[in-house]
Symmetry: C2
Subunit: 345 residues, 2 copies
Amino acid sequence: MRKLTILLLATTLMTGAAQADALRDAALEAFRPLPSTIPAVKDNPVTPDKIALGKSLFFDPRLSASGVFSCYSCHNLATGGDDNMETSVGHGWQKGPRNAPTALNAVLNEAQFWDGRADDLKAQAKGPVQAGVEMANTPENVVVTLKSMPAYAEAFATAFPGEADPVTFDNMARAIEAFEATLITPAPFDAWLNGDDNALSTEARAGLQLFMDKGCSSCHSGVNIGGHGYYPFGLVEKPGADVLPVGDKGRFAVTETADDEYVFRAAPLRNIALTAPYFHSGKVWDLDVAVEIMAESQLGEALKPEETARLVAFLDSLTGTLPQITVPVLPPETGATPRPTQDIR
Amino acid sequence: MRKLTILLLATTLMTGAAQADALRDAALEAFRPLPSTIPAVKDNPVTPDKIALGKSLFFDPRLSASGVFSCYSCHNLATGGDDNMETSVGHGWQKGPRNAPTALNAVLNEAQFWDGRADDLKAQAKGPVQAGVEMANTPENVVVTLKSMPAYAEAFATAFPGEADPVTFDNMARAIEAFEATLITPAPFDAWLNGDDNALSTEARAGLQLFMDKGCSSCHSGVNIGGHGYYPFGLVEKPGADVLPVGDKGRFAVTETADDEYVFRAAPLRNIALTAPYFHSGKVWDLDVAVEIMAESQLGEALKPEETARLVAFLDSLTGTLPQITVPVLPPETGATPRPTQDIR
C-alpha cells in the first residue's frame, strides 16, 4: 500500500520534462539523430574536391543520352529530392517501373533502391545513367563526354589525385556519392532527440509514442527511420493490386528466393511529407492514406482518425532543412563532345 | 613636312594605353557594359520578395502539365541559361520549333523570342508554359496548382501586396521576370569597357577591332551585343536550308509583312561560347563555323582562319559570371494540387 502510494505520487509528480526524458530515452533506443558532419562512405573518401565534382555531375544533363535528364531531374533538390510523380518520366517519355526515392539522406540507407539491389550510392548512381527508360546512356559514351571537356578532366584529376586515368564511369559514381553524402537534412525530430524539448509539438510527441507503441518503429528505425531491413509489403494483409501491382515482386528479383516475393526495403521516412506519392508504386498521394495502408497491411490495425493525425504530426517533424546548394557552373561542350540524341535505342 | 613629322612622331609614341583608349572609345560608341544593379523592368517593380517568388517558380516543374519541365529545364542556369540542344524536348518527347535562347541577360533584350514576338520577359514567360510541345499547361491549371499550396499563396500575397487576388497567371509571369532580371553576368569585356586594360587579351582586342571593322557590330551592338533590331538571315547570301529551314519564316509570322520573311532578331552574343548549338535552327555546333556563316551570309565575306580565331577570342570575352543561385525549397503539394499528367492533349 505504501509502495503503491509512493508510485502514484511519483507518477503524479512526474514533470513534463521527465515524461519527455522517458519518451526521449525510448526514442533513442529506436532512432538516432543525424550526424553533425558529412557521413563517411565506404571505400570512397569524401573530399571537398570530390563533392564539388559530384555536384557538377549531379546537375549535368549531358550524362543522359538525350541531354534532357540529369540526376537532379528525378532527384529534384527543390522538391524533397524526388520528382513528385508516380514513376519517373525518362528517355523517350517512357515511365520507370518504380517511384523515385529521395536522394536526401540516402547516403545513410543500408542499401539503395526499393529492393536494396545496390549496396551504396556509388553503385546506385550507375543504374539510372544506363537504364533505357531513364537516362539511356552507356558508360563508354559518358566517359567520352566527360573527357571531351577539359574542365571536367581537370576536376577528375584533382578529385582523384594520383590516378593515371581518373575520368572513369566508376569515378563519376564515386563523385556523385560524395556530393550526395552532403545532402543531410536535420529536422525538428533531430533537435528533439538532441535535447530540445520545444522542437516537437505535443501532437508530434504523441505521434512518436504511437509510432513506437504500434510497432511502426520495428521496421522504420535507425538514423533514417527506415532505409534498412527487408519486409513483405502486406505482412498481415496484402494491399490491393492498385497499390501493390502483382507484376513487381520486389526483392524476389534480386535474391530469387520465394520468401522475398513482394519484399521491399523499409522506406526511410525522413522528409516523407515532401515526397508524395508514396510506395514503390507511387499510387498513394495522401500521407494519411499511406499511414492507414501501412497500419492495415503491416500491423493489421485500423487506425482511428486521431491516431492517423498524430502519426502524421510525428512524420511532419521529419521534414528537415537542406544545406544551401548553389547551382554549379558546368563546363561547355567542345567539338569532341558527343551530341545529344533523342532517339530510342 | 613638319606637320607630317609631328604626326608620325605622335603615332610612333602612341602608347599601348592610348591605343587601348582609342579602341575603348570606339567600342563604347557601339556597346555598353552591364549595369552594376538589377535592371528595372517596365510595369513591374523588381522587389526582393518578387525575385524570391520568381526563383521558386522558375525552378518549379509543377508549372508543366507533366511535372517534368520547369523553366530551368530548357533555360538551365548551370549550362549558360539554355539546354545545349538543337531544339528543346518538351511534353510527350516532342521537339520545339526553335533553339532555346539563353535566359541570362535576357531582361536587357529589346524583345523576346527569335522573332521578337513578346515585348518582354513577363510576356515571354507565359508562352512555354502553355505551348503544347513545351510545358503543355493551361493558365487555369497553373493558378489552381499554385493556389493549392499555402506557401505559394503567401509568397504571392507578399510579392504583390494589396492585391485582392494575387495568385494569377500574369503575376506568375511578373515574378519570373523579376527573378530573370537578376540573371546578369558581368564578363571580361565589361571589365575592359569599364577601364581594365588587362581584362582582354591582345587577340580578343584584335577580335573586337575586327568585329567593329567588318560590320558585325552594326547589328550586334548595345549592352547585349545584339538582342535588338531585326535583320534578314542571309542579308547578302542565304545560308543552306540545313541552317535556315524554308518552313520557318521568322518574323514574317509576327508581322505578316513580306519584308519580314526570314527576318530574325539579331542574337544577343553574351555567353555565346556556352550556348551551342547556334542559330534559331540550332544546326551549327561550332562557334567558328557559326561566325563564318554569319560573315558570309550577312556581310558577304569569307573570313581568313586567323580572323575567325580573333573574332572567337572576342566572343569568348563575353562569357560572364553568373550570380550565386541557391536551389530554392519549393512548397510541397497538397490534396488539392492537380496531379501531373503525361498524356498528350
